[in-house]
């Protein structure tokens, strides 16, 4: 429920001043999510998998992770989508570790790394901050996640 704290903090005039925010006196309060935008979303790709194929072909490093206790965009959804890319497996499925605990499972495909994060909800770094930081460090280095 921590976004409630944000709703208070970022509407404080002294905070907005220090952030150089709201300089045009926006006629509505700052809020974590805009209902108006969400309900009037105009165009949305049916699938971004074609973009993944383009970006893989251009050599970008692509990592996809999934907190495995989220039911809104769950791990099964991501796995079905990635399966549709039909990528070659480079490193088969193995448990990755952080601080002697299983951080999740991972599989390295040609051009794309997929990892689950054990016990993390929709906002992975909120629920499993240590594991998320390990994931990020490995992503930046381009290294497979640690095996122990």
């Amino acid at each position: 429920c921590t976004e409630k704290y944000a709703e208070i903090y970022y509407n404080r005039p002294d905070v907005q001043k220090e952030l150089h925010a709201n300089v045009t006196n926006i006629p509505y309060k700052w809020t974590a999510c805009s209902e108006v935008l969400n309900r009037n979303w105009n165009d949305s790709d049916v699938s971004v998998l074609p973009i993944y194929r383009e970006m893989l072909a251009s050599g970008l490093r692509i990592w996809v992770f999934s907190g495995d206790v989220d039911s809104v965009v769950p791990v099964t959804a991501t796995r079905f989508s990635l399966a549709n890319l039909k990528l070659e497996t480079k490193i088969p499925w193995y448990p990755w570790y952080v601080k002697k605990q299983v951080g999740g499972w991972t599989e390295v495909y040609e051009g794309l790394t997929f990892a689950t994060v054990r016990g993390a909800g929709h906002e992975v770094p909120l629920f499993k901050p240590r594991a998320a930081l390990q994931l990020f460090k490995s992503f930046l280095k381009g290294d497979p996640l640690p095996r122990s």
Binding site: W30, V72, P74, V124
Partner: protein, 260 residues
Amino acid sequence: NEEEEADRISSLPGQPKVSFQQFSGYVTVNKAVGRALFYWLTEAVHDPLSKPLVVWLNGGPGCSSVAYGASEEIGPFRINKTASGLYLNKFSWNSVANLLFLETPAGVGFSYSNRSSDVLDTGDVRTAMDSLEFLLGWMNRFPRFKHREVYLTGESYAGHYVPQLAREITKYNKRSKHPINLKGFMVGNAVTDNYYDNLGTVTYWWSHAMISDKTYQQLVNTCDFRRQKESDECESLYSYAMDQEFGNIDQYNIYSPPCN
């Protein structure tokens, strides 16, 4: 330069003392209609000049990367319970990178448009174009990042924003003498493909014993997961599953109670 200095944050109210630099403010992405996106940069704790630039986008659509990414996920600070101040996040991603939180599109958080109709007809296309425009304008303001390694990250509906922005950057790089040094992107619990997302979601619900066999069968037999807008019959099955069968849980973290 002056614009950069004007964006410097000396210290946020209730913030603990830190060694890294911070900047925040607006970059205009459409001068004609007065549309501007808000950003917050927290530089890396050690040797920021050698660290990559990592852009973080939250999804929704319509949700703020300042509210989520910066304030409860990867940013250096957490807001305390009374919102009177901040405390440090010891697993902040700015321990290894310069973090650029972007509130996109206009209408999200502090980002705004003087053309009020913009919040009624924005979508994936304008968001990707404006986010590219933002990056180009932002790098002119912070020229030290012009050739830095850039990574895009995000979660949820940013599963659309991130690859779409990556594609816009890739297209820009093909026609520009000053390409953006985009190295890759990483997304989490990402909205990716309508059909597979919908099929995977109801499969997860069933395999995690959150819904009955009967409801699962009805969902699979009634819903056309390829459609953007489900039929009323299908919608009511989704509502029944969530309202009557999930029970008192937080869907974003199924073994926790909901936020009241």
